[in-house]
Symmetry: C2
Subunit: 219 residues, 2 copies
């Protein structure tokens, strides 16, 4: 709504930034849905208010479009994550909230997940070329490191926790939950993906992560 208004501020016939965004949005959907070689430039164009000609004008070639679509997808989710403020919570609550949030956030951004899957199929070639994205992710780790540090100082987290390894564990569950839903549902039924099933998996994941972070109870 507000976006549409902002996009129309210039003229009706020429609006470069609006066109770029329009194309990028279409590209993310199409690439996420069909993969790099599965996506057709003509199909992306068809999802657009403009034409194939414009895609080549603004993005050079298919690879250029793909790279920018990937950046756009990353940018969107990391932006959403940045809104989460955990600094004021005690470490245990902060970690709990972070895990639950990540689980839900991934779940509500399937296009992003699929872009990352595709990027992994292609050995992260496009990602390597974009240092923009790396910065966004360093920030995510720093947030986690800060929680770990506070937890250690308060004596409730074990010493020497590795925030990267912890992030790996959180991502694994949250990512797999979306990325492998199709095959998992076919093989084991879709109960796990009902509301109740998801709630269970989320709390199970929170529990697993907390167990890694917490200091062992004395035997």
């Amino acid at each position: 709504m507000t976006n549409a208004m902002a996009e129309d501020r210039r003229s009706w016939t020429q609006n470069p930034e609006g066109v770029r965004r329009d194309i990028l949005a279409a590209a993310v959907s199409e690439f996420a849905e069909r993969g790099l070689s599965g996506a057709k430039v003509d199909d992306i164009a068809a999802r657009t208010r403009t034409s194939k000609r414009m895609i080549y004008y603004y993005f050079g070639d298919k690879m250029g479009l793909y790279t920018q679509a990937l950046e756009a997808a990353y940018h969107k989710v990391r932006e959403g994550e940045a809104l989460l403020d955990l600094g004021h919570l005690p470490p245990l609550d902060a970690l709990t909230k972070l895990v639950a949030f990540t689980f839900d956030h991934h779940r509500s951004n399937p296009d992003f997940i699929r872009m990352v899957m595709i990027e992994n199929i292609h050995q992260a070639k496009a990602l390597s070329a974009s240092e923009k994205i790396r910065d966004l992710n360093i920030a995510a780790i720093e947030k986690l490191r800060e929680i770990c540090d506070r937890g250690e100082q308060e004596g409730i987290f074990r010493r020497g926790l590795d925030p990267v390894a912890l992030h790996w564990q959180i991502s694994a569950a949250s990512f797999f939950n979306v990325s492998n839903r199709p095959t998992f549902a076919v093989l084991f039924g879709d109960e796990m993906f009902s509301d109740a099933g998801q709630a269970h998996l989320r709390s199970q994941t929170v529990e697993a992560i907390l167990a890694i972070a917490k200091k062992h109870e004395a035997p």
Copy 2:
């Protein structure tokens, strides 16, 4: 070695089963490497001791080849898993061993992982069509269920453990570790994928799973 001998049992020039296996192996590599539309039938043929003509003769079309390649990949890994005998171990040891094994097994079968990734990109369409594969997976769950039951009876596992949810958690870590290695390494460095890093992640995963399974210590 033994395979090559068996394959040559018929004649040198005609050997249908050998040709089929040869094609399937090439197809798994190529599909795993490049995805469904990324893989080219001509390239698969080039990896083969025979010709493109034979692919169409034995498999009908590209989709038929893909489906059978997927089945072959599943068959190979589940076969490897079936060798693991846990019935004689106490539940805690059995679960520990199962998790560690799964972690390593996935890691040493990257082609399988990539086939599953690709299948997920395509909404598991080929997988749904093959009931062969479903059976293989039910067996995996049954093995886990048996461990859970014994653990509950002995009073060391919590009651009402869901083997499917547990399997989900084990798979998530083991799968993600391989599937997302490229992007994860680009974003966070590849220390996690060194021998030391992998050992750490494996034991961290074992710990997380055990924490889910074990009965809570009385407060």
